[in-house]
């Protein structure tokens, strides 16, 4: 039981961290609450299903192809629908919801509402301490950790990363320092959607694919980002682990846990928020213009 909680908690935590970090990045750099974020995650999972299962491509081709296509769609959506109306924050919010609905409906029309599964990239499992951990789990965990590490390196060590962080801190001053904030925002969108896409293609064999699979992760990602503090990458990471472990513990230990898992995770988020209104690691947006 304890080891189950550990394994599944770590696994879910890693996936949520991928999604939450991407969400946090685009909020920081462009102040966009991108509610279509997990829809990109779903899109990537379906892309793998399409290329890998329908067209029977080898995973080594299908996976990068899916990621690239989803990132291109993300950047396209950003340039065409979000950038021109960035001044109207509420309109951008609804645009992201509409984008998510478009993806959901397009998938419903193309693939139908059936539950779909993708076969694992690697088969087999190991059996330490009596729990079954498939290689797919280990692979996912590895890829997710590597991607998070890569994003952290990009953010901390490269010129682009410094630009992203500075425009997250103060967009206007970043602009005055001669950075092209619009292009930085587009690059951030690409990274953010890319993270969601990597998470999507990696968990596609572990999850059941269906056109509404973006809603539940979205609620959790929002909770995680708020819990960790908006715009804070470290906060998103720690928040993801906290909420994932809470969720898994509730499912394993409580009767009726499957109904209550989201409710309890959200209740804990609220409790933390009441003590710390800016989240665990958030910067207080008091002087925000």
């Amino acid at each position: 039981m304890l080891s189950d909680i550990l394994v599944y908690g770590l696994m879910n935590g890693a996936v949520y961290a991928m999604l939450a970090v991407g969400f946090s990045l685009i909020f920081g750099a462009a102040r966009i609450i991108n509610l279509s974020h997990t829809a990109f995650f779903m899109l990537a999972a379906y892309a793998v299903f399409f290329f890998g299962t329908n067209l029977a491509f080898h995973p080594i081709i299908a996976i990068p192809l899916s990621i690239v296509i989803v990132v291109l769609i993300g950047v396209f959506v950003y340039y065409v629908f979000m950038e021109p109306i960035r001044e109207h924050e509420t309109a951008v919010l609804i645009v992201t919801v509409a984008v998510a609905l478009v993806f959901q409906e397009a998938i419903l029309i193309i693939f139908g509402g059936h539950y779909r599964g993708v076969s694992s990239i690697v088969s087999g499992y190991i059996n330490p301490m009596g729990i079954r951990i498939s290689y797919q789990y280990l692979l996912t965990l590895g890829v997710v950790s590597l991607s998070l590490l890569a994003v952290w390196l990009v953010l901390m060590k490269t010129r682009l990363g410094i630009a992203i962080r500075s425009s997250a801190q103060d967009r206007e001053v970043a602009n005055l320092m001669g950075m092209n904030v619009a292009r930085i925002a587009a690059a951030t969108m690409a990274i953010s959607v890319g993270l969601a896409a990597v998470a999507g293609v990696m968990v596609a064999p572990l999850y059941t694919l269906e056109p509404h699979m973006w809603l539940n992760p979205l609620v959790l990602v929002l909770a995680i980002v708020i819990l960790g503090g908006l715009g804070s990458i470290k906060g998103s990471f720690i928040g993801a682990l906290i909420l994932a472990f809470i969720e898994v513990t509730v499912v394993f230990l409580m009767p009726g846990g499957a109904f209550l898992k989201v409710a309890i995770a959200l209740a804990i988020m609220l409790a933390i928020l009441i003590i710390r209104p800016e989240g665990l690691f958030g910067v207080y947006l008091e002087g925000e213009r």
Partner: protein, 342 residues
């Protein structure tokens, strides 16, 4: 007699001078006289539901548009009122006349319960925290299926009124009255304070105004109106289900309001009356229905991000540069101060 003359003069001087006000008056008259033109059950049903949702969307605008307390969980008020109404009606057999106000009061209470812990939260934090409440309540409803009816909800509730025509008039008249009240609230002294809290809360506090009181007032008012909408909806559809608490329900209110134009109240009404019937007409497109709907929202907001009413108003009317009174775009000089327009 003098009253009629005063009313006529008011209409001529204040209503007929502005194209948008003429449109609003025509809309109200059309809505009230529609049953003369058609008694079609389906059309009456769609417009009655649209009216109920218009109250709901306008209540979101009151809280989130005017006071700036953006709530992503507005379905909470709707759902709480719906379940309260349904349970009172089914278990105690009370009539809609009593259950709907009690449901609305329950929503006010919930508004206070949500508002107090959320007072310290700002901007996106508040929005995403409020998102949590209806989802938590939905979890509770699923855990006690015996009392709340679980996934199927509570059915077998009495009708709002005996005939469809009466139901239509109850919904439409209540919508017009409540939205007018909301519009008047936002136009009053309280409304000015609401505007100011959205623009700069610290400045309002520095002016010696108790912002906590006004923010809680906004939560209660908004909860009250959303609660009435929830109660009406329950009695109209004769069912209260968990879909009334769903995330989509909250976002529908936001989509309608922003589509119609935020911080206007009438924008919310226009948004619902455009988008809700559109969604019904799109039933002809079968499985492409939601796709077309989402694309319409996407493209309209791309062209007019400030919302459809604000866009149209700015096309039809211009503000006088001197006295800030709105004028029809065709006028050469201001209707109040006679200064040249531009």
């Amino acid at each position: 007699m003098t009253f009629i003359r005063m009313a006529l003069r008011y209409i001529r001087n204040e209503v007929l001078v502005l194209p948008t006000r003429i449109i609003a008056i025509l809309f109200v008259i059309l809505l009230l006289l529609l049953p003369i033109l058609t008694q079609d059950m389906y059309i009456l049903r769609i417009l009655a539901i649209a009216s109920i949702f218009a109250i709901f969307a306008a209540s979101w605008d009151l809280l989130s548009g005017f006071v700036g307390q953006v709530s992503f969980g507005h379905a909470l008020f709707f759902g709480v009122a719906a379940y309260t109404t349904a349970l009172l009606n089914l278990r105690l057999g009370w009539s809609p006349l009593i259950t709907i106000p009690i449901g609305a009061l329950a929503a006010v209470l919930v508004g206070l319960l949500v508002g107090i812990p959320c007072l310290r939260l700002k901007g996106p934090y508040l929005g995403l925290a409020t998102l949590a409440f209806p989802i938590m309540l939905m979890g509770i409803i699923f855990v006690f299926p015996g009392f709340f009816g679980g996934e199927l909800g509570i059915s077998g509730i009495t009708r709002l009124a005996s005939t469809r025509l009466n139901e239509y008039y109850i919904a439409v008249v209540l919508m017009l009255v409540l939205c007018f009240i909301m519009w008047k609230i936002t136009d009053s002294k309280i409304g000015i304070i609401f505007h100011a809290i959205r623009e700069d809360e610290i400045a309002v506090r520095a002016s010696g105004i108790n912002t906590i009181k006004y923010k809680l007032l906004a939560f209660c008012l908004s909860g009250f109106f959303a609660g009435i909408a929830g109660g009406l909806y329950t009695h109209f559809l004769r069912i209260a289900g968990p879909s009334m608490l769903a995330v989509l329900m909250s976002f529908q209110a936001i989509i309608w309001t922003i589509f119609g134009g935020i911080v206007t109240i009438y924008g919310a009404v226009v948004g619902v009356f455009i988008l809700f019937p559109t969604l019904e007409i799109l039933r002809a497109a079968a499985e492409y229905r939601m796709l077309i709907f989402a694309l319409i929202v996407l493209l309209v907001l791309r062209v007019m991000p400030q919302g459809i009413t604000t866009f149209v108003r700015d096309k039809l009317e211009r503000e006088c540069p001197r006295c800030k009174v709105r004028n029809a775009v065709t006028r050469k000089e201001c209707r109040v101060c006679f200064s040249h327009m531009r």
